[in-house]
């Protein structure tokens, strides 16, 4: 049966229940034309996000000017969205098939050939995705590039995914601490915009030890992807 744009959009917007989601994933894995349509929708969403960056807060703007103003760096938000569209989509597809161990091995091989640098992005607090992200982080941080050097891995969390790196919010605090101690080549990075959003909702955001802050997930991704890092999403 033909999958409508409405349903495909709902898939991209994370609006489907598990059963329906699985059905679409199965079709995506088998149908390249459907993947292209999904990719186009995904890209469109990123373009819209990139075209309307968040203005700086009033406090940051010039005194006397109460109007929010844009930061000079704002075109990078669009660059991020464009680069992310390319990178993320591959990660996204990879993620759909993460059940297959071989697929993930294939991803690791691609990263190895590409210089061994990867951003692992988490923006969900679903237990299954958090678990998958931790397993991926462990494997990536243990992998070595063609010259035998450990991969450089950046674990970036934003949106609900931030809970994983938050004290009191993460059921995996001990595991993350152990992971960090074991792998000096793994950086844990939280998105400051996501932190602000959580704080807005009255949630205490104290990060786990050793977690760094990026101005925003988007700017961080933009920087990394332009430097040639690979992208994976959990």
């Amino acid at each position: 049966m033909e999958i409508s744009d409405e349903i495909l959009g709902a898939y991209i917007d994370n609006e489907l229940d598990n059963e329906e989601r699985a059905r679409i994933q199965e079709r995506l894995a088998a149908d390249s034309a459907l993947r292209a349509r999904a990719c186009e929708l995904w890209q469109l969403k990123q373009m819209i996000r990139g075209a309307f960056p968040l203005p700086r807060s009033r406090k940051d703007s010039t005194q006397g000017d109460t109007r929010p103003s844009f930061s000079n760096k704002w075109p990078h938000a669009l660059a991020a969205s464009l680069f992310v569209a390319a990178g993320a989509f591959s990660g996204w597809i990879a993620n759909e098939r993460f059940a297959s161990e071989r697929q993930f091995e294939h991803q690791i091989e691609a990263i190895r050939l590409d210089g061994g640098r990867v951003v692992l992005h988490l923006f969900s607090d679903e237990p299954a995705r958090m678990e998958a992200a931790l397993q991926m982080a462990e494997k990536l941080a243990s992998a070595r590039d063609a010259q035998g050097r450990p991969f450089r891995v950046e674990f970036l969390a934003n949106g609900p995914g931030l809970h994983l790196l938050r004290q009191g919010g993460s059921p995996y605090a001990e595991r993350i601490e152990a992971l960090r101690r074991r792998h000096a080549n793994l950086r844990l990075v939280a998105c400051r915009e996501a932190m602000a959003r959580m704080q807005e909702r009255g949630i205490d955001v104290t990060l786990l030890p050793g977690v760094e802050e990026a101005v925003s997930a988007e700017s961080e991704l933009s920087a990394r992807l332009t430097q040639g890092w690979r992208y994976l999403q959990s």
Partner: protein, 187 residues
């Protein structure tokens, strides 16, 4: 409630309002595409929110509640027949970057085209697509904010995306992304 508690709670409420201000402004600007009008709509929204703060049942849902007030202010504005948007107006001040290498110019051009394409949508579609894509509200939240059935949210979103895709077809083609995506998909 003691006066002290009352003042404390009001301050907290005002601090939260302030935190939502930038997001409201971005949303208003994406709807009306006019900076001064976006300022006015946000001011009006915040003023109404202060007056009606006792109506906010769930503080967690504050931003959605503010967006629904903003949507009402915007609809009042549209009803008054005041929508006078020049969708071709180039927002030079915003787009000028310090050094304008070719790449930045291309990005700016794409941004303008995306904004124009969004502005050219009927208001109902414009609202839905920005609430979903910029504010990341769920379909159910958007239905609540705009007071429309969830089926209408989905159909408006789908129509909006179809129009945007059409309007931005060659913008896609001009980005290096398309090639990369095609490569990824082949790989």
């Amino acid at each position: 409630m003691s006066l002290f508690n009352f003042i404390g709670r009001s301050r907290q409420f005002e601090a939260k309002l302030e935190a939502s201000r930038c997001r409201l402004w971005r949303l208003a600007h994406s709807w009306c595409r006019n900076r001064a009008l976006a300022d006015d709509l946000v001011q009006e929204t915040l003023a109404k929110a202060l007056v009606r703060h006792s109506q906010l049942r769930d503080p967690e849902a504050m931003h959605a509640w503010l967006c629904s007030i903003l949507a009402n202010c915007w609809h009042d504005h549209l009803r008054a027949g005041k929508e006078a948007i020049d969708i071709d107006a180039v927002e030079e001040g915003e787009l000028a970057s310090a050094d304008c290498p070719e790449e930045d110019c291309l990005k700016n051009e794409i941004v303008l085209r995306v904004r124009q394409a969004v502005a050219a949508l009927p208001p109902g579609q414009r609202e839905v697509v920005t609430l979903v894509d910029l504010e990341e509200f769920s379909y159910a939240e958007v239905a609540e904010i705009l007071q429309i059935p969830i089926g209408t949210v989905m159909s408006r979103l789908s129509r909006a995306r179809a129009s945007l895709r059409e309007a931005l077809k060659d913008a896609h083609a001009r980005t290096p992304v398309t090639k990369a995506v095609v490569r990824q998909l082949r790989g």
